[in-house]
Amino acid sequence: MIFHKYANPTRFLKLASLIQPWAAAATVLLFLSGLYFALLASPGDYQQGETVRIMYIHVPAAWMAMFCYTAMAVAAAVGLIWKHPVADLAARATAPIGACFTFLALFTGSLWGKPMWGTWWVWDARLTSVLILFFLYLGYMALANAFDDPARGSKASAILALVGVVNVPVIKFSVDWWNTLHQPASVVKMSGPAIHPSMLIPLILMALAFKAYYIWVLLIRMRAEINEGKIRSLRLRQVHAGQPPDAAGDKITQAVN
């Protein structure tokens, strides 16, 4: 089964180095075209004027914040249930990326809120639940790195990630359940998107660019984590063999490369 095949980090590394340049190229292309449409070739809003362009960063970042958390929770569950080592790595590597996207969504949202709502921040349900999401990411990262044994950290933080999943539907439906200042969903709706194609196209391009960027950075981070694991086990082997720590420095460089 292909899923188990890539539980082997070496096989995974081969696949990763195959995908990574494509992900990088897709990121660059999508960002260039997306930014062109978003900043130059799309109209301003009839009410919001040019500030509507914040949307092309804010909305994809918010989507990615939730997507990353879901991906992290799924990877964590796979790691817990099948003891899949690469899934554990994926969950760990996703957390900082997701936290950055969440921060970006909150930050651009506050920049957008100031001209539109007249305030940087309101304590409405959508903003509060996204802030909780940000704290959950921070808690996950703190817990994952709080153990001397990284495997323990992965397991403990996987349980935390699964507990935090309750927050994801709360974020999604917060604008429908509560009467909030934040506007309800206008792209993903039963009745089709309530947004003009001239704005929808750049939005979707930017969303795809964010996703490609995520894959790119995820692969880099996972490869770094695997290399870190290799260095750690090499160091341990040296210590057990009684070698001085710097004598095998070259060996480490060789192994990593």
Partner: protein, 222 residues
């Protein structure tokens, strides 16, 4: 059931032998609330406005303070391993320990609340609702906190980490607890808030011991 009762009894007896520990939580609760009249000034109307929130936040922090010891002591002296080896499911053991934790911290907080409500000049209409929300809310706090307490076993700097893990998950309980009291003061219906809080408790009751037991299992594995 018998095993459940005997674990609760054991933990209560331990708490009783240690004497002052659960009283210290109440002392923290009272002191934390008493700081506010000094911080924001003793004006009655301001205190009345913020009283429900201050009391709830202080109760939440006090409940969190004692969480670190929920499994840590048993983990360090090895008795947690013996408890896990019992023929009863670990989930039941965890639920029993949570129950004992609530009886030694949540319940004393509840008893101290009316006194603090008077200190904080809480309007009379909110009295009963405040006690009621804390009665429904503090068990949820103990349940959710148990997951955090189980996750930090064997980590570095457990206490600070615990607050980072648990506080975000506490926010929903806090929001509905405070809005119920505020609703009661301004003459609105409190039933929806209380129903949501009860819903949170009912959802936490099976899920939290399950997650907590999972966390303890992986802590004992290594």
């Amino acid at each position: 059931m018998k095993a459940f009762a005997s674990i609760v009894k054991r933990d209560l007896r331990l708490a009783q032998r240690q004497g002052m520990d659960s009283l210290m939580v109440v002392a923290f609760f009272v002191l934390a609330v008493v700081l506010f009249p000094f911080g924001v000034g003793p004006e009655a109307s301001i205190l009345a406005r913020i009283s429900s929130g201050v009391i709830w936040v202080a109760a939440l922090l006090a409940a969190m303070l004692s969480l670190e010891r929920l499994f840590q002591i048993d983990y360090e002296d090895g008795s947690l391993e013996l408890l896990a080896l019992q023929p009863v499911p670990l989930e039941i053991t965890v639920l029993a320990k949570i129950t004992a934790h609530w009886l030694t911290t949540g319940l004393p907080l509840l008893i101290a609340t009316p006194l603090l409500a008077i200190f904080m000049n809480l309007p009379g209409d909110g009295f009963l609702v405040l006690v009621l929300t804390l009665a429904i809310g503090t068990p949820s706090l103990s349940l959710i906190g148990a997951i955090g307490a189980a996750l930090i076993l064997g980590s570095r700097r457990g206490g600070v980490l615990l607050s980072l893990l648990v506080l975000p998950l506490y926010i929903p309980v806090l929001i509905f607890g405070v809005s119920a009291v505020d609703g009661a003061i301004s003459g609105l219906s409190v039933k929806p808030h209380l129903l949501i809080m009860t819903g949170l408790l009912v959802a936490a009751l099976p899920l939290c011991p399950w997650a907590g037991a999972g966390a303890i299992r992986q802590a004992l594995e290594t």
